[in-house]
């Protein structure tokens, strides 16, 4: 990085939109990922695409690293300015530009919070389905950059399935448009998909064309308790084999069940090996039929008890245990790592067992819950970052977990992104050829390596 004159940036965005005090820089040195922090040299808040373009031209000329940031709720250190430089805070891009009811498309600026988009389209009976745990805080820009998923991934997919087009600013300041409102579009390389999930390493997203879908008319939730993990696994596969795709198919392991029960005292059996939470949605008649079929599958796979919600109040009760999973685990210890290793759904029981083995072997506390239907697990490691000896064991447990996921044909990340957190295992999952291709793309689009450098594909 070359020395740069902060006044040059001030002339682009104005004095009020640059933060340089030590306290401000400190406030943008971290995100929601434990153990990663580094101070930037400036925090810049651009107002429009043109300003972003000018900032990128300036940064490119001076080889200054740039890190786009929304709300900073990232779980893979994607927002951490590890090499100093400029944090590009996109929160002033906060407008929903258009909700096009004829094409079922929303055109949105990246600083809009996901839940706010859903509130806006909800009045028209529509939803934007990707719903990561942080919907109430995360921005569209952040969730597109990380290709965020959520609880409804099994039926509705993840962010990349809903991004139809983007306006981005490249590393050299050029403004580029990808995709559009077309449902079918095979013209050229699919740059929209490339940029979605690029974690700020290829471009700065300045506008998003998002697909909307009709909101389901009805929902039905069920909870099943299993004394045997394999039975729970078979029930998951059985539901899919019965040609039912629930919106939600969640699992909690024994460690999580015990923690939740200890925290909430709602009568969960402490010796249960798994709890499944299933929700089907759609047309009311179909929902009733599907719920009955799911019930039959659960029973035929030896569910110890099954509860079906009769109304919204009962639905909330069933959901309470699942909603409490992360808070209950997080309260155990100061530091919480929420991982998101993902395996093919029929490997979920194998994976959960391997996590337990890793926890015991390295004497680390891990509770696992997650999206059983899409194989996206959240091994949640609770520890204390201030204890270096414990952190060594945590790292060894993570190493076992990620290597197991890869060995089971899975992937390092289902929805949180790679960033820095999972970078050490990228080569192992993708192999040298894929890594070279990915790095070649990075070098082509960002020859000075200024965009979120060192993340996702590592040093180039």
């Amino acid at each position: 990085m070359q020395q740069f004159n902060i006044n040059d940036l001030k002339s682009i965005v104005g004095e009020d939109n640059i933060l340089t005090s030590t306290e401000d820089l400190f406030s943008y040195s971290y995100d929601a990922t434990p153990g990663h922090a580094h101070m930037p040299d400036a925090v810049v808040l651009p107002a429009n695409t043109n300003e972003v373009s000018q900032i990128m031209k300036f940064a490119n000329a001076h080889k200054i690293p740039v890190y786009p940031r929304g709300s900073g709720t990232n779980l893979s250190a994607g927002c951490v300015p590890t090499k100093g430089g400029i944090v590009l805070l996109m929160t002033r891009f906060n407008k929903i530009i258009d909700i096009d009811l004829e094409n079922l498309v929303a055109i949105v600026e990246p600083g809009v919070v996901v839940a706010d988009l859903n509130t806006a389209v909800g009045v028209s009976g529509l939803i934007y389905p990707p719903d990561p745990g942080t919907v109430a805080t995360a921005t569209l820009g952040g969730t597109v950059s990380e290709n965020a998923g959520g609880l409804r991934g099994l039926k509705y997919g993840v962010t990349k399935h809903y991004i139809m087009g983007l306006e981005v600013v490249l590393a050299n300041g050029d403004i580029m448009n990808t995709g559009g409102k077309n449902v079918k579009d095979v013209s050229g390389y699919d740059m929209t998909k490339l940029f979605t999930g690029s974690e700020g390493t290829l471009c700065i997203i300045t506008k998003i064309i998002a697909k909307l879908v009709p909101a389901p008319e009805a929902k039905k939730a069920m909870m099943a308790i299993f004394n045997d993990l394999d039975d729970a696994g078979k029930a998951v596969s059985g539901i899919i084999a019965a040609k039912i795709i629930p919106a939600t198919l969640e699992i909690m392991d024994n460690a999580t069940i015990r923690t939740v029960e200890d925290y909430m005292k709602i009568g969960l059996p402490l010796d249960a090996q798994a709890i499944l939470l299933i929700e089907v949605d759609g047309n009311p008649t179909v929902v009733e039929q599907e719920a009955a079929k799911v019930l039959a599958v659960l029973k035929s796979n030896n569910a110890a008890t099954v509860q079906m919600a009769k109304d919204d109040a009962e639905r909330d009760k069933l959901w309470a245990a699942r909603r409490a999973a992360l808070p209950a685990l997080a309260k155990l210890r100061p530091t919480t790592y929420v991982e998101d290793a993902t395996v093919p759904r029929n490997k979920v029981p194998d994976f959960l067992r391997a996590v337990n083995v890793a926890a015991q072997k390295h004497n680390v506390t891990i509770g696992t819950f997650g999206h059983a239907g899409d194989g996206n697990m959240h091994p949640t490691i609770v520890c204390d970052l201030r204890d270096p000896e414990e952190m060594k064991r945590v790292y060894l447990a993570m190493d076992d977990i990620f290597k197991t996921a890869i060995a089971l044909g899975g992937t390092l990340s289902g929805e949180h992104g790679i960033g820095l957190g999972k970078l050490p295992w990228m080569e192992e999952q993708h192999g040298p050829v894929s890594m070279n291709v990915m790095r070649a793309i990075k070098r082509t689009l960002d020859p000075n390596l200024i965009l979120n450098p060192g993340k996702l594909v590592g040093e180039c």
Binding site: E23, A32, K331
Partner: protein, 439 residues
């Protein structure tokens, strides 16, 4: 002398200052869920406006990477103490309390600001405090213009620390406690309660105090307003001057204990919270005072809570109040003492009254006590959202249970040219009893 004091200085002087909250700070996992509910973050959009950012800054100070600077002080001051972050925190981090600790560190390291220093010194001296607020009441008409028909005034002259357009509560020429004897007797009293009036009710909103006394009388309850009672200490406590707050706490606990009341009531969420919760926290290391604080805490109720849960207020004597009413839940009611059902039960019991719920009734009104003095424009922005929610209900009256909320909402309605009344819940109940007695 340098403007900045670094961690070494603090360690040598006040080692216990932040170090004992090190673990509490470490429990914040930086998930950022506080961003979803923080009213200040919603307006400002900057990391150090929200709890996660403030906790990080405190960690920075503790680790020696940051000084307790003017910027640190500003960040700590940018908080309404609305407790929304703590309620929404998945890790159970009491961020609101930690921010007070951050302010406490500022007070110790940098001292109180000059205005607060003078005000708090005055506050601690009960008689002088009483006298100066009485004088303010007597001379108020000279400096404030009363708004017709409302308990609101606007300044005639620019006042230090006060926006010229701002509507505030009138300083009463006759404080509540000077209008009544200390003991208000009733025939065949079914119980005897001590009324902690609090400053806003004693010196400004005497109408709320009168309504409280009327309603208790209608329910055959003998009321005593101990003459020696003093400010509850909340404003001082939340500014980080905990030592001064303890002076108030000790005085009030001892004063109220000497009467041996069946119950103690207050008509303000923050005052009640002080008696019920904060005094216990303040004396956690002083066993004798702690025992007293716990004893008093058990007897203390907010007026709506008391009327519904304890006194089972008389619903047979109520007359009609024809109005559409919506309710704003003060932060220290909903997230402090957790009283939201009882005021609604009272409102819904009033014949002729139509109750409509506003969107987000528990969202902070933006007052934050002295916050609205320091950051009036920002507190207006927060309040404008509340006013928009009120407006969409089409209610004639906004009911609430806190003097400073009432003042800030009245100001917001005035600034937005909306002709609506803002009243304490107890005033509506009083109107209903009066209507009942005329039938």
């Amino acid at each position: 002398m340098s403007d900045e004091i670094n961690v070494k200085d603090i360690n040598s002087h006040d080692k216990e200052l932040l170090t004992d909250i090190q673990d509490a700070l470490a429990n914040c996992m930086k998930c950022g869920n506080c961003m979803a509910v923080c009213p200040i973050y919603k307006e400002v959009g900057r990391e150090n406006a929200v709890a996660r950012g403030k906790i990080s800054l405190m960690e920075g100070v503790l680790s020696g990477r940051l000084p307790i600077s003017a910027n640190f002080e500003k960040a700590m001051s940018m908080c309404l103490s609305c407790k929304a972050c703590a309620t929404n925190c998945p890790c159970g981090v009491p961020a609101d309390e930690l921010i007070v600790r951050g302010r406490q560190a500022v007070v110790k390291a940098r001292g109180l600001g000059p205005i607060k220093k003078k005000v708090f010194a005055l506050l601690k001296h009960r008689q002088l405090f009483d006298l100066s607020l009485r004088m303010a009441g007597l001379f108020a008409p000279l400096s404030f213009k009363k708004l017709p028909g409302k308990m609101g005034t606007i300044a005639r002259f620019p006042m230090p620390g006060m926006d010229v357009k701002r509507v505030t509560a009138p300083m009463s020429a006759h404080p509540l406690r000077s209008q009544y004897p200390e003991v208000i007797k009733v025939d065949n009293p079914k119980m005897r309660v001590g009324f902690f009036t609090g400053c806003t009710i004693n010196y400004m909103y005497t109408d709320v105090g009168q309504a409280t006394l009327n309603v208790l009388k209608a329910n055959h309850i003998e009321v005593v307003m101990p003459s020696m009672q003093h400010c509850c200490g909340t404003p001082v406590f939340y500014s980080g001057d905990v030592e001064s707050a303890k002076v108030f706490a000790r005085h009030n606990l001892e004063t109220f204990d000497s009467y041996n009341f069946d119950y103690i009531i207050a008509a303000c969420g923050s005052c009640t919270e002080a008696f019920k919760i904060e005094y216990i926290h303040m004396f956690k290391d002083e066993p004798k005072m702690l025992a007293l604080a716990e004893k008093i805490s058990k007897k203390t109720y907010e007026i709506s809570e008391f009327l519904v849960d304890v006194a089972k207020f008389d619903k047979t004597q109520l007359g009609p109040v024809h109005a559409t009413v919506t309710m704003h839940d003060p932060c220290h009611m909903v997230r402090g003492i957790k009283v939201t059902k009882q005021p609604r039960e009272i409102l819904k019991a009033i014949p002729g009254l139509t109750f409509v719920e506003m969107s987000k009734p528990d969202r902070c009104c933006g007052s934050g006590g002295s916050f609205s003095m320091s950051y009036y424009e920002l507190s207006r922005q927060v309040n404008d959202r509340k006013i928009a929610d009120i407006a969409s209900t089409k209610a004639d009256i906004v009911a609430t249970s806190c003097g400073t909320c009432r003042m800030h909402i009245m100001d917001g309605l005035e600034q937005n040219n909306l002709d609506k009344e803002t009243l304490h819940v107890i005033q509506l109940l009083d109107r209903s009893y009066q209507a009942g007695s005329q039938q």
